[in-house]
Amino acid sequence: MKNNLSMPVRYVINILSIIFFLVLGNFLLKIGLFGRAQVSTIIQSGIYIILAVSLNIVVGYLGHIPLGQAGFMAIGGYAAAFFWKSGILGGELAFIIGIIIAGISSGLFGFLISMPAFRLNGDYFAIITLAFSEIIRSVLINFPKVTGGAQGLKRIPKYSNFFCVYSIVIIVCTLIHLIMKSKHGRAILSTREDEIASKSCGVNIRRYKIFAFTISAFFTGIAGAVYATNQGIIAPSEYGFMKSVDVLVMVVLGGMGSMIGSITAAAFLASLPLFLQSVMKSFNNYRMIVYSFILIIIMVFKPSGLFGNYDFSFSAILERIINRLFVSKNEKVHENL
């Protein structure tokens, strides 16, 4: 007989494993197990994870390909940086409020952009989002009195550390998971699967497209804020077209529609340059070729991405282990009888 873990038990297991992960990570960093470059890469990975899971909402769950994530990241980064630099508040509270401001301002732009953007599909949708991103970048460059122009903003207060960044990663992933496992998530997925069928079921697909795009922009803005505080300096040149493509590559590589895929690919691609740099010291100039080659290999042999559309569930794995042990024990008892 199958044993199914009840929802409260699943939640307790997940919360405990999250706390364990955060405490263990913090402990390993504190005892000095990792060098400075490695710690920096781990934090960078966290930021890319937020970016990738946010983009995965639109690319993986909704089935549209935007190329303007860098624009939302810039909005979030600049909004938070303005707030932090204003010095209205200090300490952790300032960090939290800055993050929220970044999310809201980016989400607001996402909402405004999505309304005309979703009148188009496919390539045209990608182009309109790319154009938006470029407009943002131009505005940032051409208003130097406010934005610092091409040189950007400097001396942004540094709040980021492993605990802060990965707490945000966990909160973002949890929120996305909770949305996608609700009726609203099902509506978003149905839109990806078949728009006509979805409409024939009474799902307001336009509303859900805008909703998905807005929450994606909201979380991307948060990632932008974390990026800004981690770097301490931001400039429009960092939010170019290639930044959007980098994040898109992570989502596609991990498997569109798989959160664990986005997380793994983001962590993998963010740490790959550092790994190649340390392994191939004598071939340092060739590491980008190796990086590209790895991407080609994965895409050729696993076109659906590393995880396809599989999503990881720690409690489901535990449930399977318990069932296997329980069922095998029962079977043994039956055999003995």
Binding site: L178, S182, K183, S200, N309
Partner: protein, 273 residues
């Protein structure tokens, strides 16, 4: 014989006093210079099973697309439960009581069977985003209710045992059945079935005939179906409309349609004299 008074459907006596679920008056659509459907008139009453037949390319699926507002008619008026559908889109049409299946199965292929039905139940319970994210008691109540209802619907076609299967892994016949269940989940007052027996073997078709009647009786809804399988159409429909080149050329009981020379000519052509 071309039917003159298209507005009056030929109904069993029991339904004569029941109000119309759907009524079309002079509906038509042009695609550029092509008149795909012209002067389409139909009136379907509650609990009526009506068939729409015609040769390939006659415009049957276009009529379905017009009724469900996938296409906006170029001319004519349509009433769905006494409401003019002029300003409705397909979502509002569904919410006003029209549901359909498709000629080429349109399931949410990467979603499970129960998730497909749950999408059909999307408008059943009003649970906001805030309640869903924070998993408030309203969310749990609504999810429990929806899942219970989904399992009830699946039990109609005996599909509860495959509820957790990915819908694309089902057999062709089961996929067709699931599409009907998903349409029923939207609580329609009229169900449009576009070739429901396509790809089914004879025993599955017989089972489908029984199920169509069962759906009509237990849900108390009208059904309009497009089908090429004449055994199914003649066996299950109370009235049949025949469409040819976008025009309704005949309408009547199965017996009348079988003996109608205009229908025979539309299907088989005219003998050389």
């Amino acid at each position: 014989m071309i039917v003159r008074d298209m507005h009056k459907s030929i109904l069993p006596k029991r339904d004569q006093n029941v109000k119309a679920v759907i009524e079309c008056k002079g509906v038509g659509i042009d695609f550029g210079g092509l008149c795909a459907v012209n002067d389409f008139n139909i009136l379907i009453k509650k609990e009526e099973i009506c068939g729409l037949i015609g040769p390939n390319g006659a415009g049957k699926t276009t009529v379905f697309n017009l009724l469900t507002k996938v296409y906006t008619p170029t001319r004519g008026v349509m009433y769905l439960n006494d409401k003019n559908t002029k300003s409705m889109n397909s979502i509002e049409a569904n919410q006003s009581g029209i549901a359909r299946t498709f000629q080429n199965i349109r399931l949410f292929k990467n979603m499970t069977v129960i998730e497909n039905v749950l999408v059909g139940l999307h408008n059943e319970e009003n649970c906001g985003i805030f309640e869903s994210i924070f998993r408030l008691s309203k969310y749990w109540r609504s999810e429990d209710l929806l899942k219970k209802r989904a399992m009830e619907l699946l039990s109609i076609f005996g599909m509860t045992n495959v509820a957790d299967h990915i819908s694309s892994s089902l057999s062709y016949g089961s996929q067709r059945r699931l599409e009907i269940i998903r349409a029923l989940a939207t609580r329609p007052s009229i169900l449009l079935l576009d070739e429901p027996a396509a790809g089914m073997n004879s025993s599955e078709t017989v089972e489908l005939m029984e199920n169509i009647k069962k759906i009509r009786d237990s849900f108390g809804i009208a059904i309009l179906l497009i089908e090429h399988d004449m055994n199914l159409v003649m066996g299950v429909c109370e009235t049949i409309g025949v469409l040819n080149y976008g025009v309704l050329i005949a309408k009547g009981t199965p017996r009348e349609i079988q003996n109608n020379p205009v229908v025979v000519e539309a299907y088989l052509g005219k003998a050389k004299e």
